[in-house]
Every structure is written in structure tokens, then in C-alpha cells.
């Protein structure tokens, strides 16, 4: 049985690359497949070049990129369906939270239920599902770690708000661990990764600074609210 030489295998591999097969796992499949076709023809007495051109004719070189597309399509089909469902739930969650907070400010009916469902959905459904989807699309270890830290911080802070609102114990633990992960892990990883991959370094830093400013604002407004509450209690006494 014919066995292709290194340079012959390489030339078939180049063919795959020039025809847009970039997915490594599929490259292995197709490389072996075409090599088998060529070897089969060589066993029947043909030369390599002739065997290769016959095989590519049978195969249809233009079909190579289509195979990759079909593979990606099948692999992401489920994920895309999930994205749609999660998208709808996320929009509802955001709406619940915003409406709940406005109603709460005006002491209107229904505020409690909306805030409770909003933050519960965010912590238990939306953030975990979004993390899963994002991780599926990422291959870089640093990026994956940043993603996990970001979503875990989001989950902890949502739970903190929920606990605070429900007057459950454990708020401080959730709140400060959430903030610590956000500032101590997520932001440095996010900044480092962005700084490294972004062409425009200033823009990359600006993004991180804006997130930091947001975090400080939330932290400060919570502190101010606490302060005001303590002052009110003191003056009431």
C-alpha cells in the first residue's frame, strides 16, 4: 500500500489552508481523508500528482470551506437557540430591575416582587448562562479566567443586592467578595488582556478606567446611603 511522503502530505495540507479550512480538528480529518483517496489511486498505479488532481476533482476543492461552514453551523446551532432564549430572559431581568427600583423610590406596589425576581434571575439564570455561552466561544486561558471572574463578581453583587433588599444575613460577605473579585481579579485581567491585544493602548486603558469609575460610583453611593441612614437614625434618637 502506498504511503505518502512528508512533502506530499504537506502539499495536501497547504491545499486545505488555501481553501479556507482553518479549524484544526477538521484539518486532521480532511487531510487524512484526501491522503487516503490519493494513496488508493497510487495503489492502482497512478503517480502522486495525477492521483491528487483526480482526488481533488472528485472531492471538489470549493467544497472544502463549505464543509467547515457546515461543521460550525451544526456545532453552534444549539448555542444560538440558547442565546435567543437567554437574550429574552436577560431583557426581562433588566426591565424588572429598572422598573422595580423606580417603583421602590415612589413606594409603589409591586416594587418588591420586581426587584426580587430581577436580581434572582440575574444571579441564578442570566449570568451563569451568559458565562457558559461566552466560555464556549473563547479559547484563550487568560480571557476565560477574566470571563469567569467578571460573571462571578456579577453573580455575587446581584445576590448581595437581593440579600440586602430581603434583609437576609450575609450581605457584607457577598458585597465585599463581589467587589474584591471585580477590582482585584477581573479588572487587572481584563485590562492586561485588552492592553495586549488592542492596537490602540489608550483606548484599552480608557475602557478599564471607565469600568473602575463605575465601580467607585456604585461603592460610594452605597456608602453615602448607609451614612445618610445612620445620620437619620441618630437624629431620630
Amino acid at each position: 500500500m502506498a504511503q505518502l511522503k512528508q512533502h506530499q502530505v504537506d502539499s495536501i495540507y497547504d491545499l486545505l489552508l488555501t481553501h479556507g479550512v482553518s479549524y484544526e480538528s477538521l484539518q486532521l480529518d480532511l487531510l487524512d481523508h484526501i491522503c487516503c483517496m490519493v494513496e488508493q489511486k497510487m495503489d492502482n498505479g497512478l503517480e502522486f500528482d495525477e492521483s491528487l488532481s483526480l482526488s481533488t476533482q472528485e472531492f471538489g476543492l470549493s467544497k472544502l470551506s463549505e464543509i467547515q461552514e457546515a461543521t460550525f453551523h451544526l456545532l453552534t446551532l444549539k448555542l444560538n437557540k440558547m442565546k435567543k432564549v437567554i437574550g429574552v430572559i436577560a431583557i426581562l431581568t433588566a426591565a424588572f430591575v429598572m422598573l422595580g427600583i423606580v417603583l421602590k423610590l415612589y413606594h409603589s406596589l409591586g416594587a418588591g416582587l420586581l426587584i426580587f425576581s430581577g436580581f434572582s434571575l440575574a444571579a441564578v439564570v442570566v449570568f451563569p448562562a451568559m458565562m457558559y455561552i461566552d466560555l464556549k466561544n473563547q479559547s484563550n486561558a487568560l480571557q476565560k479566567t477574566a470571563t469567569i471572574c467578571g460573571y462571578v463578581a456579577g453573580i455575587l453583587l446581584s445576590l448581595a443586592t437581593l440579600f440586602k433588599f430581603m434583609h437576609w444575613p450575609g450581605f457584607y460577605l457577598l458585597y465585599y467578595s463581589g467587589l474584591a473579585i471585580l477590582v482585584g481579579l477581573f479588572l487587572p485581567l481584563y485590562t492586561f488582556r485588552n492592553y495586549k491585544t488592542n492596537e490602540n493602548k489608550i483606548f484599552a486603558l480608557a475602557k478599564s478606567m471607565l469600568i473602575m469609575a463605575g465601580v467607585v460610583t456604585i461603592w460610594a453611593s452605597y456608602r453615602m446611603a448607609e451614612h445618610a441612614r445612620v445620620l437619620m437614625e441618630m437624629s431620630a434618637q
Binding site: 486532521l28 487531510l31 487524512d32 457546515a70
Partner: protein, 116 residues
């Protein structure tokens, strides 16, 4: 050669059945086995085979083993334990389906229907 319309939907049971019988197979081997078993009547195209194999792998029905063959790497596909169960179920369903189709397409086998 059967039309695409008819073959559609049979591809997965065929591949899983072959993997059940042969323990592990590589892509080219699968296409050749189908060609031989069906006397060239069913040809599995690469465009249908590999996307499906990758999907089955992502779903945990099959797993792969890499082996060096000459100057290249060959990927063997084999059923996972849960894949074996699913395959058995699918094959049973498919056999039942074929029996049902027979009732419809070979009406002579159904005595008395429509003649009373």
C-alpha cells in the same frame, strides 16, 4: 444512487450502526464501508460526514483517538458509553420505522385493506 431527500435522516443511524459494529473507525473508512455495504447505492459525502461526526463528538456520543499514520495524524471515532446506549435506542427506532414504511410502501402485505 438514492436521492438526497431519501438519504437525509438515515446518515446518523448508518454511522452509529457502523461504529457499534466496528468499535472505532476513521472518516475515510466509514465512507468506504458504506459504499461497499450498499453496493455503491449510498455514498456518504465528506460534506455530510465530517460535520455530523463533529456534532456527535460535541454531544458526547462519540469520542476521538489520534494516531500517527505515516506522516499524518489519523482521527478514529468511537462510541462513548452513553453513545452506545443512544445508538441502541436509535437503531431500534430505525428498525421499527423501516417496518412501518414497509406497511405503507408494500400494501400487498396488508391483507384486506381497502377491499372489503
Amino acid at each position: 444512487m438514492y436521492s438526497k431527500e431519501i438519504i437525509k435522516g438515515t446518515l446518523k443511524p448508518i454511522i452509529l450502526k457502523l461504529l457499534q459494529e466496528n468499535n472505532r473507525m476513521y472518516g475515510y473508512e466509514i465512507t468506504q464501508a458504506v459504499k461497499d455495504l450498499t453496493a455503491d447505492k449510498i455514498k456518504i459525502t465528506e460534506g455530510a460526514l465530517y460535520p455530523l461526526l463533529h456534532k456527535l463528538e460535541a454531544e458526547g456520543v462519540v469520542f476521538t483517538e489520534k494516531e500517527s499514520i505515516g506522516k499524518r495524524v489519523r482521527k478514529y471515532y468511537a462510541l462513548t458509553p452513553s453513545g452506545k446506549e443512544k445508538t441502541q435506542e436509535l437503531i431500534e427506532e430505525f428498525v421499527d420505522f423501516m417496518a412501518t414504511m414497509k406497511h405503507i410502501f408494500e400494501p400487498n402485505l396488508q391483507p384486506g385493506y381497502g377491499t372489503a
